[in-house]
């Protein structure tokens, strides 16, 4: 089981957290101006790197706050 460091609560078990996908995906400024394909890309397409990946996590069973973390997807190690 992973150990994830919540910036507010400290290191906790993975079971206390929920995953929020890739970090830094900005909401389109003008959603109505997007074509179906661009909207589909925004909704469904994410990076899938082997290595460092910036992610959103929420401490769902703790302080319920969202934060960003960088995880190595090959080793599952969280980078400080």
């Amino acid at each position: 089981m992973l150990q994830i460091t919540c910036p507010w609560c400290g290191p906790r078990d993975e079971t206390e957290f929920s995953y929020g996908g890739q970090a830094g995906v900005a909401y389109p400024k003008q959603p109505s101006a997007l074509s179906d394909e661009q909207w589909g890309t925004f909704v469904f397409f994410r990076e899938n790197p082997k290595g460092r990946f910036a992610e959103r996590w929420v401490h769902a069973q703790g302080c319920r706050r969202w934060f960003d973390a960088i995880r190595d997807t090959a080793t599952n190690d969280f980078l400080p």
Binding site: M1, L2, Q3, D13, E14, T75, N76, D77
Partner: protein
């Protein structure tokens, strides 16, 4: 102390295992193999045992080498498979969650040294009932005997089982794997005859006045007491067959001569126990000098010490193929898998350890191939004609030793499995004859 095995009562001693008592009483066979029903006997010393499986009350598939005798114990030999007990198991199971700075897995010499050097709170897991260390809360040292680490997961999270009763969930900053090495046998025709044992087991059992022949590939058997003969594979000698029916009566050598004996102590080399290292994604590489897989590369917060890292293991000149009747040359005793099956798999075009394992089932029994995996790979490499390292390795998966479902379930069973929650008005509703609907949690 009295105990019953297969309907016969025996006298037992305090601190003895069931297997040790059976061997001391001269019971060489007593077990049967799963597929062919061939007579089998105690083969190993601890969790590597492939033959001596017993049912004790509600508990199936207990290894006789790990069962400590208690007065009135009743054990029934199992033919490779257990039975689900129909009555409910009234044993109490439990779970604990702990943290520590240093977790030492294995309480041998290397483990003790690591525990004494380790900083912060130290936990030592020792599978046997005895440890050179004792818990000392003032020093932050906790020693758990009869406790086996069964899995090592991401984030240095270890699951260990104490006496098959209590599950320990341990999160450690640093993990020292000091699980030692397990001896492996040599494959030759009729190598499953009751009385053929691992040398490391045979030299620890009380064999009475048994005549012992040692068959070895390395120097670890030098100190063997009272052997009538030693067949040293390094000088070209081979054991090519065994004699006897229900129990071993003699061995046949490569020059056609026979030696009468009751026990054949076999040492085909030593395999470092790298299961936990592999659970966490650690890599292994083949070492020709000691003829075994040793850990390579690094894992964050995990180190391997002592003979688990290959340190201090003897040089080995392995013997993979002997010739003779391959249908009775057993590679995996618990699966009854023989060399002929392995050859059939290679004939079908399989070239990788993972594929051969699935084709022959070698290493898939409840002993997880502790004695069979490497000898099967060695034989396969020689048949195909490639270096052993070219076959790849099959990775280990938890659990390291079998764990019963009831242990994992712990207290979460019966009423506590899915506790009913009732409103404060429940009693009033019941009193007024309400009809209830189960709406879950």
């Amino acid at each position: 102390m009295r105990f019953t095995f297969a309907g016969t009562e025996y006298e037992g001693r305090d601190g003895e295992t069931l297997a040790a008592a059976l061997v001391r009483h001269g019971v060489r066979g007593g077990f049967a193999s799963i597929g062919l029903g061939r007579p089998r006997g105690v083969f190993g010393w601890a969790d590597e045992e492939p033959n001596a499986l017993v049912q004790i009350g509600p508990k199936p598939l207990q290894r006789a080498t790990l069962v400590e005798l208690t007065d009135g114990l009743v054990a029934e030999p199992l033919k490779g498979k257990g039975r689900i007990f129909e009555a409910s198991d009234d044993t109490w199971y439990d779970a604990r969650y702990v943290h520590c700075e240093t977790l030492v897995i294995g309480g041998g010499a290397a483990g003790v040294a690591a525990a004494e050097a380790g900083g912060g709170r130290v936990i030592v897991l020792e599978a046997s009932p005895h440890s050179a260390l004792t818990s000392d809360s003032t020093q932050g040292l906790r020693v758990l005997t009869r406790t086996t680490a069964v899995g090592l997961y991401d984030g240095n999270y270890v699951v260990a089982v104490e006496r098959d009763r209590r599950v320990w969930h341990i999160r450690a900053k640093r993990i020292v794997i000091a699980t030692g090495a397990v001896e492996r046998p040599i494959a030759f025709p009729n190598n499953d005859r009751p009385g053929v044992m691992l040398a490391s087991a045979a030299c620890r059992y009380d064999l009475g006045g048994a005549r012992v022949v040692v068959y070895t590939t390395n120097d670890s058997t030098l100190a063997f007491p009272d052997a009538v003969a030693t067949v040293d594979a390094r000088s070209g000698r081979r054991v090519v067959d065994t004699l006897g029916a229900e129990r071993l009566e003699g061995v046949v050598l490569d020059d056609g001569s026979t030696i009468a004996c009751d026990v054949l102590a076999v040492s085909g080399g030593w395999n470092p126990s790298l299961n936990l290292w592999s659970h966490r994604g650690g890599k292994v590489q083949w070492d020709d000098k000691i003829a075994a897989f040793i850990p390579t590369g690094e894992l964050d917060g995990v180190e391997v010490v002592g003979s688990a890292a290959g340190a201090g293991l003897p040089d080995v000149s392995p013997v993979w193929l002997t010739g003779g009747d391959e249908t009775v040359t057993f590679l995996d005793l618990e699966r009854d898998a023989d060399l002929a099956e392995l050859r059939r798999g290679i004939g079908a075009g399989l070239r990788r350890a993972e594929h051969l394992k699935r084709f022959t089932l070698i290493g898939t029994a409840s002993d997880q191939g502790k004695t069979s995996g490497v000898i099967a790979m060695g034989a396969a490499a020689e048949i195909i004609g490639v270096p052993l390292a070219d076959l790849g390795t099959s990775s280990f998966r938890p659990p390291f030793v079998p764990v019963s479902f009831s242990t994992l379930a712990g207290r979460n069973r019966g009423e506590l499995f899915d506790p009913k929650r009732e409103t404060p008005m429940h009693a009033w509703h019941v009193a007024h004859g309400a009809i209830f609907e189960d709406v879950g949690q």
